[in-house]
Amino acid sequence: MHPETVHTHPDPNVDPHSALHHHGAFRVGIGGPVGSGKTALVAALCRAFAGELRLGVVTNDIYTTEDADFLKRAGVLDPQRIRAVETGCCPHTAIRDDISANLAAIEELEEELGQLDLVLVESGGDNLTATFSRGLVDRQIFVVDVAGGDKVPRKGGPGVTAADLLVINKTDLAPMVGADLSVMERDARARRGDLPTIFLSIAQDRQAVKVADWIRALLAHEH
């Protein structure tokens, strides 16, 4: 963009609650506890959408660039398409209470790369209560893993109960940690009602096919 181009917010007086009608890319938040596979899911979705969607990624690691560096090393996405946001020891604040740094990062991506189809916002690893503001994302995915214990869906919390999609990762580890997938499925249904839950093992399904299809369906509905 020309350096003298004046940048103004497209709609400076917009109601913050109307973020679902923002003009840019469709935004999907990916949250969940530390080590559950959020970054692995982002990498899998980058592989799945390569050549199909104009993609951007914003990471919110507690250590500034750890997740962003992982994605760059994995070679799944052009480093230009990845932004890291500092969260000042409070990853949940950056995605829920004060979303300004994440909004700025998304706008920077859109300014530098032009129109995007999809932006994935990965939260820093947090706890079961961390959820995204509707002012930041259009939909959110909460990622837990089988190795974290099959009681997690029963414990609930806003992430498990209210996320638009619950992903239960590392199903391949279930026999090794004595986790009962049927218990997790039953508890997830009890907690989430009609909201969808997907079981997968990103270690085996390198493109997280079912999650990618869920996002494709949302995008088709948008357009």
Binding site: E86, A101, A104
Partner: protein, 265 residues
């Protein structure tokens, strides 16, 4: 004293402040802040340097937004014309801080002063990393302010893709919120001290009661610095205070190169 003052000063106001330690993280890593007494020294040192400077710029920016014609009279031909226009229509200015309806000439004068304040503040920040952090926080505050207190006053701010300095946006925001010049300066001082103290709490695991007691002890000095800063409102921007701390500038530059950091500044 208004609720709007408390709202804008609240650490929960979504303007990106939580991700900034304003030099505290670098000072902790260097071992310069490790106890309550070294934290107190750090907070006071920064309060009387960058705190006073940013508060003076917040007060001056408030003045430029709320009384654009009088803040510039000596500095600019355009402003002198605006000042004359202002004198012809004294109803243009409102005491107590709310932004009056402005004529074209007054707007031009206010814009000119705010641009000059932004440049003067830039010149007072030796560290490029500090400049970037200040502009990022200014952009974040402006985003929130426009939604929380909508108004025309923000149009006086310079148009910059990388954001206007935080203290300048703070002054204009305080005016839009109906706050006074002194309250703009107070928020600048208070936010700096409490933001750094909050970062110390998170990084060093102090008791929250100890941190709050320390902040209570510093409250009088925070008020005094804010009051001193307020006296600079309406002055030629080039004459505003220019205190700095070289060690803070060097630390900020080093901090920006760290591979692993928890805070943006």
């Amino acid at each position: 004293m208004t609720s709007a003052l408390l709202l804008l000063a609240d650490g929960r106001f979504p303007a990106g402040g939580h991700a900034h330690s304003s030099g505290l993280e670098a000072a902790v890593a260097a071992g310069r802040v490790s106890s309550l007494s070294t934290l107190e020294s750090f907070l006071l040192g920064r309060l009387y340097t960058t705190g006073l400077v940013t508060a003076a710029f917040a007060a001056a920016s408030h003045h430029a937004a709320a009384h654009p014609a009088t803040s510039t009279a000596a500095a600019h031909p355009a402003a002198q014309g605006a000042a004359a226009a202002h004198l012809a229509t004294p109803s243009g200015a409102v005491e107590g801080g709310s932004v009056p309806r402005l004529g074209d000439m007054e707007c031009a004068a206010g814009s000119e002063v705010l641009l000059q304040l932004d440049e003067e503040l830039e010149a007072r920040m030796a560290s490029p990393a500090t400049r970037v952090a200040s502009r990022k926080q200014g952009a974040a505050l402006l985003r929130a302010a426009k939604m929380v207190w909508p108004g025309d006053g923000y149009g006086l701010l310079p148009q910059r893709r990388d954001g206007v300095h935080h203290a300048v946006v703070l002054g204009v925001t305080a005016a839009a919120a109906g706050l006074s010049c002194a309250e703009a300066a107070l928020i600048a001082c208070y936010s700096q001290v409490t933001g750094q103290a909050s970062a110390a709490l998170r990084l060093l695991g102090f008791s929250p009661y100890d941190i709050q007691r320390l902040l209570a002890q510093l409250a009088g000095q925070c008020d005094a610095v804010a009051m001193a800063a307020t006296a600079h409102a309406g002055k030629d921007p080039a004459e505003l205070p220019m205190f700095s701390s070289p060690l803070a500038d060097i630390s900020a530059e080093l901090h920006a190169t760290w591979e692993v950091r928890l805070f943006a500044s």
